[in-house]
């Protein structure tokens, strides 16, 4: 569905991504593992159009999308829940969610449906819908961020470190809903450092190191790999 071919990104003379090729298949939950600075965030930002690739192509269902503006990419059905959440902190939860549906704002009924869906995933957001997003707890803010990304009714959802900074119990809930979202038919590309939990819900995984893909395979294979266990799972 979403394909990256020899994708490279450089900042000046620093190569943040080195010829990365990757395939995200329709309906799957793909996890992208790697340590801090491995290039996961760069990869997601490039897919979303926030960064321009210096080489390579990104295609979505055969159509080239690299080089489009971020708003065009959202319209093509790829939305991202970014690292650090990137919420509109002084706006209400409701307004944040509504802006998530900015690209399909003309379809009033569809917006209402998405909103109902998000509230069903995260009932707490309904209760807090008039509070400024910045006043919520970290876990709740992450819910708003994921909810906002879902409001665009994406075919592919990019999630960048949704578990960062959250308490272990909350992390578990977070992964449960991610799995649920995927089960409903949304293709997900999840970038995570928390390999242990992520591998439990993912179908396949890619492992990145200093800007390049070093390994890929099914979750079970990766989870069973000794090197990976030592490097990322710590068991």
């Amino acid at each position: 569905m979403l394909e990256l071919e020899n994708l490279s990104v450089s900042f000046g003379s620093f190569m943040a991504l080195r010829s990365v090729s990757m395939e995200v298949r329709q309906g799957e939950l793909l996890v992208l593992l790697g340590a801090n600075g491995a290039g996961k965030t760069t990869l997601l930002k490039t897919i979303s159009g926030l960064l321009r690739p210096s080489g390579g192509v990104i295609t979505l269902q055969g159509k080239k999308i690299s080089g489009l503006s971020p708003s065009q990419i959202v319209r093509h059905g790829i939305s991202q829940c970014a690292e650090g959440r990137r919420l509109f902190a002084q706006m209400s939860v409701y307004k944040n969610l509504l802006l998530g549906a900015y690209t399909c704002r003309k379809d009033k009924k569809g917006v209402e449906k998405s909103l109902a869906y998000v509230y069903s995933l995260y009932p707490i957001l309904k209760e807090k819908e008039n509070d400024p997003a910045g006043s919520l707890s970290g876990g709740q803010q992450q819910m708003v961020a994921i909810g906002r990304a879902l409001m665009a009714r994406p075919g592919v959802l990019l999630l960048d470190e949704p578990s960062m900074g959250l308490a272990p119990l909350v992390v578990q809930q977070m992964f449960d809903t991610i799995e649920a979202i995927n089960r409903e038919g949304t293709t997900i590309l999840l970038a995570e450092q928390n390999a242990y939990t992520a591998l439990k819900i993912a179908h396949r995984a890619y492992v990145m190191e200093s800007g390049a893909v070093v390994m890929s395979g099914s979750s079970q294979d990766i989870a069973g790999n000794e090197q990976i266990r030592q490097a990322y799972i710590g068991a």
């Binding site: 990137r86 509109f88 802006l99 900015y102 409001m151």
Partner: protein, 287 residues
Amino acid sequence: MELYFQQLLNGLTLGSIYCLVALGLTLIYGIMHIPNFAHGHLYMVGAYCVLFLCTLYGLNYWMAILISMVILAVIGIIMERLVFHPLRDSPPTNSFIAAVGALLFLEAGATVLWGADYRRMPEVFDKVVNIFGIMATQQRLVVIFSALALMGALYLFMKKTLIGSTIEAMSQDREGAFLVGIDANMVSMMTFGVASALAAAAAGLAGPLFLVFPSMGGLLIIKAFVIIVLGGMGSIPGAVAGAYILGLAESLGATVFPAEYKDLVAFILLVIILSIRPTGLFAKEGR
């Protein structure tokens, strides 16, 4: 005592004008991080628009202001496309210089087209009203209330419409705005349009009270900058509060101190506020 009430009224009038100009400046700063030095000169062009629509075409005062707002919105959008858009990926210094260039262009253009002499707008609300011993022309009251109405309209636009909230979204989190699919170009143009229209409205309202001349914008833009620094760069409530604070500080300052020290009052105020709150009254957190 009467004097203080009189100065209160003067300060509110001045504050209202400052407010409309500073709001535009802060909106532009909020989303583009450009200090648009030419903003005061858009105000000047707006004043000439209202003046000519009233005198040459004999338009009704309110119509003239409305049409000028539209004309200025278009000029603002053109300016964004022609001057700032091509520089969006270059260092901020380039935009600063471009803004100064736009300012010089507008002032020189106005001087060539309309001459350097002072002009005056015809007065519509020239009756003098006496409120408990405070004398003022109706125009001053018109300024105060119209500015409030415009601020109300801006508030509704930005809070109650999705299009309007994209401006706020972009100023609160630029990357977040991109990720939900907000089109940066559209928002930039809209912001310049709205800001320039506000400047035109300010000019139209202030016109009958002051003189119209090509360098009139230069005086105002310095004040507007003080205001948005005072209120917190990019903050909307900050611009409103800052504008009234400066307007009142100037008029009351003029009462207490000799004229030479008047600007001192405003700037001492700035220093005090900034030493207590270095990022301004209503600074955004985490910036």
